[in-house]
Each structure stands twice: as C-alpha cells, then as structure tokens.
Symmetry: C2
Subunit: 337 residues, 2 copies
Amino acid sequence: MTIESAIPEHLRRARTRHIRVPSDYAPPYPSYSARFQPAVSQVVMAYFGAQWRGDQPVDTVPEGIAASGHWDRATYVDERGYQTLLNVAYWDDIAAFDTWFANHGKAWTSPDRPHDGVGYFTEVLRPTVDRYETLFSAADRLEGIGVLAPELSGEIQEHAYWGGARDRIPLSQDNEMAPAGRSAVEVDGPVRRIRPADNVCVIRSGQDWTQTEADERRMYLEDVEPVLRAGMDFLRDDGLPIGCFFNRYVRVLDDAGTPADKSYGLSWWSSLAALERWAESHPTHVAIFGAAMKYLSTLGPAARLKLYHEVSVASADQQLFEYLNCHDSTGMLRTAR
Amino acid sequence: MTIESAIPEHLRRARTRHIRVPSDYAPPYPSYSARFQPAVSQVVMAYFGAQWRGDQPVDTVPEGIAASGHWDRATYVDERGYQTLLNVAYWDDIAAFDTWFANHGKAWTSPDRPHDGVGYFTEVLRPTVDRYETLFSAADRLEGIGVLAPELSGEIQEHAYWGGARDRIPLSQDNEMAPAGRSAVEVDGPVRRIRPADNVCVIRSGQDWTQTEADERRMYLEDVEPVLRAGMDFLRDDGLPIGCFFNRYVRVLDDAGTPADKSYGLSWWSSLAALERWAESHPTHVAIFGAAMKYLSTLGPAARLKLYHEVSVASADQQLFEYLNCHDSTGMLRTAR
C-alpha cells in the first residue's frame, strides 16, 4: 500500500518547518483526506443559526441556500437552554458565495428582519486551501466541506499521532500559525459583529453511527458517547480559559428534519496550539481518546462507526460574525465578557 | 514565575527545527531538569546485571563501583523467569569512567570469569550532553544521572505535552535524530557483544512512592501501578514490533538490599520516534497516562508521588553491550532472533 501526503502536490512548498514524524512513518490504520481541484483556491463554511426558547420548533433556512455546493442541518440546546437550529452551507467558489451572500445570505442577520422572538447568527469561515485540512476514517459517505471534493486521497501519512492536524494543513510547511490580535465585539444597533483575530482555529469533528448494529451500537452509545458528551460540555461551559471560544455538540438532522445517527462537535479556538493542547493532554479529551481507542481496538477493522473532521486556521479577513437578537453567550459574543 | 528552557544556555544553538509549542506556552504544572556544569561534556550510565534461576539470592557488584558518581541497585524477574540484579552506576567524567572500566568494570563480563551458573551483562550508554535530558516532578531527592548535577533548573517550559522529551534534548535543535543502521550480535567465545545502531533511544522512567500515605498510597498501588505494570509487561513481551528492543520494570533496593518504595522502567528503543509513538498513542500507555492523570488531578499539588525520567539518544559509538552466559532473550540479544 502506498502512503501519500495529506498535502496535495500543488500545495507543497519548500519547508522551513518539519513534520512531527519520521519520513518512514506508517500510520497504524488508514485515513483519507478530501482532494480538491487545483483550481479551487478558497472555500466557504457558513453557519446560519436560529435560537429560541420554548418547545415551539423553528424551521428556517437562509433563502437560496441550496445554491451552495452542499449543506446540512443540526440542532442543539445551548448552555443557556436555548433551542438552536444550525444550517451549515459549503462553497468551493468564493465569487459565487459572495454573490449569493450579498443577495440572500446577508438578510439572515439583517436589522430590518422583523423581530419574531428568535435570535439569528451568521458565522462564516472562508479559508484559503492552504489553511484547512480534512480527515475521514472511511472512504465513503463524506461530510462537510469534503462533500465538495471530486475525489478522496489514498491512505495518507500524517495522521494517528498528536500534531497530525497541523502537519496536514499546507500552511504549516513554513508557518507557525501563531495567533495575533484579540477579537472584539462591535455593536451596530440590534446587530453585534466581531472584529476577528488572526489565526483563529475551527474544528468540525463528526461521528456517524448510522451503520453500527447491535453490540457496536450499544458500545458506541453507552461507552463512548457519554465520555464525548462530557468533554463537549466541558468545552462549552469551561473552555474559555484554555482558549476555546465556544463549543457546540450538535445532532445532525436528516432531510425530513428528524435526528439522524450523526453528531458533530463544532468549536472555535484562539489558536491551533490551544486545540492541540486540549486534545492531547486535557483529562476530558484524554478520556474521549481512551474510550474511542478501547472501542476501536475491540472492534478492529469491523468497526462501522465513521469519524471525520475538518480543521481550519483562518486569518482575520477570512472570518465574519453577525449576531441579531442573540443572548450574550452566543458564539463569539461570550468572548467579550 | 519565570519559566526557563530545559536546554541550558551553553548548549543552545541556531535552530533549524522548531519546538512543538508556541513561545508563550506555559505548562499546567511545574517540572525541573538537572543542570550540569558546562565543563561536563559527556556522561556515563552503566548497567551491570546478574541473572540466575532459583531462589538463592545473588548479591554482587562490579569491583570499585563506589568510585562512580552515584549508583543504585534494583531487581526484577525477567520474561523467562530469571531473577535479575541490576547495578546502575553514573559518571560525569568520561576519562575517570574509562580508567575504572579498564581496571575493574570490564571484568564483569570477562570470559575468564569462573562459571558460577550466573549470567552477567554490561550495558553502557555514554551520551554527550547534547544527547540526553532529565525531568523531575519535584525539586528534591533526585535520582539517576540527575544526582550528579550540582543543581536543578527552575521551572522548565518544554514539558506536559507530547514531544516534550525531544524538545528537551539539545540535539533536537538541529537534528531529527533518525535511526541509522541495524544492531547485530557478534559472538566471541562465551561472550556476546552487540554492534550498535545509531540514535538508539533509552529511557529510565521512575516512580517514588516513599512519601505517599493512606489514600494516596492506596490509589497509587491499586489504581495506577497495575496499569503501569500492564504497559511494562506489554513492552517486555510484545514491544519488539513497535521498536522497543527490551524493557525492564524493576524495583529499586535500598542500601540494605531491601525493596524500597521506588521502581523504574528501563527500555531501549530503535529510535526516539518509536518511543514517542508508543507513549502518545498505544493503548497500554494511553491507559497509563489516563490513570496517572486521574490520580494527579484528584490529588492536585498535595500529591507526594514523585516521578522522574532520563531519556538519551545515543550514537553507535556511545553504546557498549556484553553478555556472558546470559540466555538468548537478555537485553539486546533478543533483537537478533
């Protein structure tokens, strides 16, 4: 089996920084990265949220969101007990996104929007292709930004060790991706915007137990999921001091709006380094890692659970946040307190 | 609190390789490194073992071992059920060691030694000061090579993350420390010697529960030690495919020859990278890490358990192995099969 670099050939450049493993490193199990066309220079990951109190469901999407390359929906209850609907849409054509956003997307948090008791927020991340990486544990049924890629890599080398995410991001070849600046809230009537900092890190890390059965499903739901949830709750409630701006552990909805057997954690961090430190040494993630490792080593290649993530490190001009009638703990707003 | 680099000033040089953490990284708890005089250019860690079958104790040391800077003793039962006594001696003066070894130490595995049913082995590591690092969880009661250092550092920066050991070794500033060559056994009458490979990695990783009491002692012995032992057993019995040449989990003896409340794991690896991979991702060490983390986070700063280690990456000419009448699984001999 040939192993290839997660960094596609057209994004390789002279290194001033080394990867963390030897050149003959062979990962203990396979993983894959999405391969985008060389013509793609930048992608968009746009989150459109609606938050409300009470049991009355809110079912709303930005107008024309189907014009995106791919989108999905999820729900969660946030730290203040608000129901939240999260529409996420992906583009691999920045001009198409800009046009769509000016015509439709911008209205999501428009101050002219009638006040219907619902809070709306828009969180957009638009990393250039050297600033994100994707990882899939299985070669079928991609999720997130990966759905837009025409193909998947072969087995990649840079995974299954701490620091792999950094090594998969092309910019890491010659850039430390150190954070710079400090995000701040700007109030504009009923809308609050964030002035972003540089090199903020975002991870969508997903779990798909659709194909698990019997013992495997029970093991996932009873032995792994509660540990994952505890870690997600920790990040949501107590993550700020360790650099986690906010965290949402969400349940994906299927096309009919019914909860699917899929979830993901979405967290924004002050830096990739802060995410690395939590992942590799905080008791809550060490517990998640231990539970997942026990699960996967018990099941071996028979495991049907699918895992994936996408990690971006965005410059200040690649981020946009707008909050309309949202409570003060919503997303980046809580970093201002 | 000022944080200092584990690499002493006189060993710093222009970097071509970066450390794994940002320059403002602050470890979550303190650790310390031994500080040697700048005049010390090379040290010696010399292991003199005696192995036998049966209950009759063997109590023997190389002649004049007290001329070393520091030495201690330990026992263990090896994978074939042999009782083993391990004398370890440290020097910070290579010329003094060479003289002593020629006059006394060499006799330990001399073919002229009367055959008394006991196997003898000598394993010497003599790294230059840019090729090892030490780490102590507490600032008092040093162990191992650290005993020879006149002082301890203040709180160091490069620890409490995966890759810290590499970052503490001065040579890592501009050298990957990649393994080269392959060790081989050479037979010379009753003595077997090893032709060493380059950049072999050695760790002595110790535990000292002398000062623990009541609940802490119980937690260490019941919750942590069995997990540590399982990991040590794995490395001893099944470590070879992942690059662990051999592993010994030993109990330290006090001056009277009685087991002290101290143990250490001593393992030799094909490379520092192989040790890093096991430590950070193998289920047996993830379990050790998880158990230790739970223990330390439960106790907080009140913990009286002391942990330390010394890690060396030795070039081929900094290693010496001789085995006299030892069984085929002893130390490096097992790598030849």
